[in-house]
């Protein structure tokens, strides 16, 4: 395995506006006679190119070849759980009985769809220990906002709207503070201890019976370390009247092993596009269902999908609902894929997912640590869960090669880079999450590549610093891209500049 064995396709594909136009033809063929729109409302110019179908198809087909996806190779982006998506999930979703169904259709005409959604919500409740699950939120961050608003509504109903702080560990994902803040909360950061876990003493210092609205946490945390003091943490927060929010980004590691609500969490979200293998689509659509313990059921967004023993229905009658967070009932297309995914696995293989993803992660971690000079493991030596974070700080000091450069060089091997520089508490962080859908050889190859790259960093750092070489474009100038003078955000910017 060497970087000679891979080259990404390169097509130098022009922009759509630069392709050849076919001014007199149109895809949508019905010629409609003149219509009479009041003059002052008429649009004069519409600058969208007329390109024929063969050329459009070619354009996007070529573009797609210049994109890396899970189906092409290992994609161990930490925190993102980039696993293989079973094709049956995609195939079944092509059914017109999903695609062509209007959301405001009478419930009796779509009982089968409602049933599937209901069953999914029950599955997710079972998996997380939640009492009830809303399928409405569109993604993890959206679930977080929903959760924070539920906290808010809960405290308000209790006459405690003075609670205005949410506690968040310094290792948390950026969406946690952002969501808390969107819900009108002040964010209080809790430091991690030398083990990489929530510092319980520090927590005790900041919890406050009138200020603390709640705590947001993911477990295992973003270092891949299990927060083994979680029971105590929950107790501390609960004792001051706060609620615990579980960021489900890392649920993959504990499927069937332990359940967030059993740990003491009151509100949880689940990123279906991570743990339940719905494809990420280059940035969505995902789905972030939110589950709550019993006492919070009356705050869920409307509507929930319910079953009254005879029929399935949308329940808008939720007394203290926070309202709606999405136009209708959530990302149905994504939800159904997760439903199929769950049934494909069943209880037995859901647990295997946790086991093998953790096994793969620890195996790969050891392989990297043993063979890659300059790469170190911060914090505890405890086994990691589905992901782990190593630091290239030493390598950087000794060779000038950074986590970023390792990442770019990995691309030359036809492998995707890990997540870089996250969590923020680790310098030169590389966050690696292989998932359960890779094979052992993938792990060995990945470790070998990193080993070679670190060797190269010591022997010939310029090669690493100049990477990548085998990708459809070489190192992209991101500074120029965001600079006010050179920023180019649409075709028009380009035209103006010329």
């Amino acid at each position: 395995m060497s970087d000679e064995n891979f080259r990404q396709a390169k097509w130098s594909e022009p922009l759509l506006v630069e392709l050849e136009e076919t001014p007199e033809s149109a895809w949508y063929p019905d010629e409609v006679g003149e219509i009479d729109i009041p003059k002052h409302l008429i649009r004069e110019k519409l600058d969208i190119p007329n390109i024929s179908e063969p050329i459009v198809v070619r354009h996007f087909t070529r573009l797609s070849q210049m994109n890396y996806g899970v189906d092409l190779g290992i994609y161990p982006l930490g925190s993102c759980t980039m696993k293989y998506t079973p094709k049956i999930c995609e195939e079944l979703l092509k059914n017109r009985k999903i695609r062509d169904i209007h959301p405001l259709i009478e419930e009796e005409y779509v009982q089968g769809l409602l049933q599937v959604l209901y069953e999914l919500s029950v599955f997710l409740a079972e998996i997380t220990g939640a009492y009830k699950v809303s399928l409405q939120p569109s993604a993890g961050a959206h679930g977080e906002l929903t959760g924070c608003l539920i906290m808010r509504a809960y405290h308000k109903l209790n006459g405690e709207d003075f609670r205005n702080e949410i506690l968040i560990p310094d290792s948390a994902h950026g969406t946690n503070p952002a969501s808390a803040s969107m819900a009108g909360y002040k964010v209080v950061v809790i430091p991690s201890n030398e083990e990489g876990r929530v510092d319980v003493e520090a927590l005790k210092e900041v919890v406050h019976p009138r200020k603390t609205a709640g705590l947001m946490l993911t477990n295992p945390n973003t270092l891949g370390i299990f927060e083994k003091d979680i029971v105590e943490v929950a107790k501390i927060v609960h004792e001051v009247g706060g609620l615990l929010y579980y960021d489900g980004a890392n649920l993959n590691a504990i499927l069937g092993k332990c359940r967030p609500c059993d740990m003491g969490f009151d509100i949880i979200h689940i990123n279906l596009h991570k743990t339940f293998g719905t494809p990420h689509g280059g940035g969505g659509p995902g789905a972030g269902p939110v589950g709550v313990v019993k006492k919070l059921v009356d705050f869920l967004p409307i509507p929930t999908v319910e079953f009254d023993g005879e029929k399935y229905y949308l329940n808008y009658d939720i007394p203290y609902t926070i309202g709606k967070v999405h136009s209708f009932y959530g990302h149905i297309d994504v939800l159904l894929k997760a439903y199929i995914y769950i049934l494909l696995h069943g209880a037995k293989y859901l647990e295997k997912i946790a086991e093998i993803s953790v096994l793969n992660s620890n195996y790969l971690m050891k392989r990297i640590l043993e063979t890659s000079k300059g790469i170190e493991l911060p914090y505890t030596d405890d086994p990691r869960k589905h992901e782990f974070v190593v630091s290239a700080k030493k390598l950087y000091k000794e060779t000038g090669v950074r986590a970023l450069n390792i990442s770019k060089r990995l691309l030359d091997y036809g492998m995707h880079a890990p997540t870089m520089y996250f969590p923020l508490i680790v310098e030169e962080a590389l966050m690696v999450e292989p998932t359960e859908t890779v094979c052992k050889k993938d792990l060995d190859d990945y470790a070998d590549a990193i080993s070679k790259i670190t060797e190269e960093a010591y022997s010939n750092p310029n090669v690493v610093l100049g990477a990548p070489y085998n990708t459809s474009v070489r190192r992209v100038d991101e500074v120029k891209a965001s600079h006010p003078k050179t920023m180019c955000l649409t075709w028009k910017f380009l035209k103006r500049r010329l």
Partner: protein, 458 residues
Amino acid sequence: MSHLIPNLSREKIKQMLKYIGVKRIDDLFKDIPEEIRFKGKLRISGPFSEQDIAKRFSERLSHVIDPSKILCFRGGGVWPHYVPSVIDHIISRSELYTSYTPYQPEVSQGVLQALFEYQSLICELTGMDVANASMYDWATALAEACRMAIRVTRRDKIVIPSIIAPHRERVLRTYLEGLEIEIVKVNLNKNGTVDISKLSENVDSKTAAVYVESPTYMGVIEQNLDEIGEIAHKNGALFIVGVEPLSLAIFKPPGDYGADIVVGEGQPLGLGMNFGGSLLGIFACRFDRKLLYQMPGRIIGLTTEQDSARRAFCMVLQAREQHIRRERATSNICTNVALNAIKAAIYLSLLGRNGLRNVAKKIYANTHYAYRKLLELPFTESLFKDAVYFKEFPIMFKEVDIEEMNRVLYDDFNIIGGINLGRFFEDMANVALFCVTEIHSKRDIDYLAKAILEACEK
């Protein structure tokens, strides 16, 4: 199931455990305290084979109506449109749909360029300067636009028309919950457009934004957009416009009448209805640093390779985003609906201006044909008499129970009738909101009119 987890063989597990230096897989979970371990077995059936899941799924779907046998005249936020086959073909390419957000631009030029094209196309369509790479839907785009206006103006009042889509209003209110914002509603004229003098009265120096929609929830094209914009701007407020994108192929775009932010629903641009999701929130604004730096969501830019003039794309202005700015981010949005944005890009480029114009003209012609046809019925009346409608229009039915009518339309005619507005608006108990698009033929519309006649005479 087992074939999805490559390392599931006993031998391999043993080998790997040995290398790690532990005996059992369970040793890797030993830091989970006993008391919170899940002891039982999850009550989840399976594993099922593909074949059995396919059976189960199709059994469930047998309790769903077959849309190919039905005429749907329902809109209200999600509309029946034709989805060109090219879209599904391209979108099914796994390089695209199995990728993550393009954090490594060098291997992600495909998604990046496609999203850049999407932004460009949305800007062409709306007449705006910059667009983000998507929001979840129109409702959340609207909510984020209002939050953005509040940040930009540091004011705390939002003015909206008395009638907007109920689900959009509901989401807007949810999103503003944390902020103590006043939402003021302005009444409509008899033709369904915003009452300008009422608007004037309500917009003041505390107003962060004036929001209007065109076409409105009732399908009415707003007539006085220039004036509304002026009122907003005169008072130092931002002018936010909500749009249905296909209408922009024939109607003046918001860029032409001074909109600061444009939001809208991209579902008509090649997305299925999917029982309401996923959708595509359009979000665009003027090029103004104050606005740009407050914009939520991902933005893609065109740049070059570091060491050459060769074009390349990457995400830009990430300093606005949550993963860097955390609690001071412009939004918490992370996973958005990129693939849906790519669908829209394919749709727009496939149709081109000619195709888009044809679709919009056909929708317009159909709308007016259907409107007239339904008004010819003996028991109907127009709600907004002198309105210019696009794609949707409300019809008042004298002494007709809309729910009952819809039931007969479905049972006897395989028609999904208009939305019963009484469900959402107290004063509209006998009003139904109909939707016609390019998928309907004149014959379909005639059939609808006949069916309603027969249904109501029953």
